[in-house]
């Protein structure tokens, strides 16, 4: 296996809590974008502030986070984001394209 190979996904939300258009918000209603990176070992997701007019994300505006270690938690049920040393992850993410 090549543990460095990653897959990226993203999902938009109109608000921090579930509401009627949370599943499929129109572009102008998007306030938050959840960016995920995943590999063999984990899925890491940051829900960040998003501006639908400029298509810009605000990396310092964190609305939520998820981290699942897949060896122990393949179903992604135990979110250990709050246990994480975020400075290490942010350093890694800075190195991504």
């Amino acid at each position: 296996k090549n543990a460095e190979l990653m897959a990226f996904s993203q999902y938009p939300r109109p608000a921090d809590t579930p509401q009627n258009n949370s599943d499929l918000p129109d572009l102008q209603d998007i306030k938050v974008m959840g960016y995920s990176l995943r590999n063999w070992d984990y899925r890491y997701t940051l829900w960040l502030g998003f501006n639908p007019r400029s298509f810009q994300v605000n990396v310092s505006d964190v609305h939520g986070g998820e981290l699942y270690m897949l060896a122990d938690d393949p179903g992604q049920d135990k979110n250990i984001y709050s246990d994480l040393d975020h400075s290490i992850v942010m350093k890694k993410m800075d190195a991504l394209p």
């Binding site: 579930p18 499929l24 995943r38 899925r43 049920d77």
Partner: protein
Amino acid sequence: REKRNVLFIIADDLRASLGCYDDALAKSPNIDQLASRSQVFLNAYAQQAVCAPSRTSMLTSRRPDTTRLYDFNSYWRVHSGNYTTLPQHFKSKGYYTMSVGKVFHPGIASNHTDDYPYSWSIPAYHPSSFRFEKQKMCKGDDGQLHANLLCAVNVTEQPGGTLPDLESTDEAVRLLKSRVGDGAFFLAVGFHKPHIPFRIPQEYLSLYPLDKMTLAPDPDVPELLPPVAYNPWTDVRQREDVQKLNVSFPYGPIPKDFQLRIRQHYYAAVSYMDAQVGRLLSTLDALGLTDSTMVVFTSDHGWSLGEHGEWAKYSNFDVATRVPLIMFVPGVTAAYSRAGGPTFPFIDVFSQPEHSFTNAKVIRNTVELVDVFPTVSYMAGLPAPEHCPDVSLQVELCTEGRNLVHTFQHKERG
């Protein structure tokens, strides 16, 4: 390199619930048979778990932040950039390109034309019976017709005596017959199932008796899930039979007996779609096209079958983003067929329900749907697009994925 035809099959909302992905419950003998001659990517992921953004991303090989399509409401050529699509690339190289069913997301997202004429040599075909899909077509216990989620039907009683995926398969078979000996083709076939509503032939339910069905192993909303990550599956809630359950918004839950029935219907829809794949593949055999046609099978994204208390795509969970990805390349993933011997005989799941196969080759490393464009292009005999620069809004042909050709040539390390 010789040019191969391409049969590109895309299912709608199909998670990796297939026999060839080690799902012990799923009965998918025709797709499993395809996998037995193919390279199977076990860890393939969509870029966004909803139809239009995912399909546009895959077919342009650009991520949603480059297509700038996160909903259903814009056409990438005018909204972000005039990006070349996978079928357009083949068309520009002399292929005859055809679209049947749901390949691009219909409507504004593909300019109300399925991106014709850029992508296709002829206008895209859509099954006429699809217009009934969201109408009251499902007979309830009261004998009346309802717009239900669970909608197993007697096909002979449906308008025209057919269903959309049956019609699409008929049309695809007709197009394949028309292309024999007539130059290279790229035929994309988009099946509508297992997308909701589960309007499927009722006989497929018998493959999944309710007493054999189980709930999701983790049917509750995880305690530490941030609320922003949860989706309230509003499309499921809108169906008449679900409304009657009076499920609380946004967290549910759905009653357990109904959860079992949703899972039963989803799997039955998978088997129904598998049968249509079998009809397509056996047609390749019958027409002598198997040795000259690359077959790609995938989905736009997955679907949560109750995991995390969700019944939908619309999330970043693996059950919503992971997809099947299978590539058959004649002479590469399998030897050319023996003279006269079929490679993909149709397997009737009702008469051979326990049929099993072993995948020809599996790739465990992580791949993405943006990788499909360069990989299919190269394996079919065309040049793969170059990797995109950091900002590619003005670049018509490039990829934000990887060309996975090396996975066909070398074993995975480790």
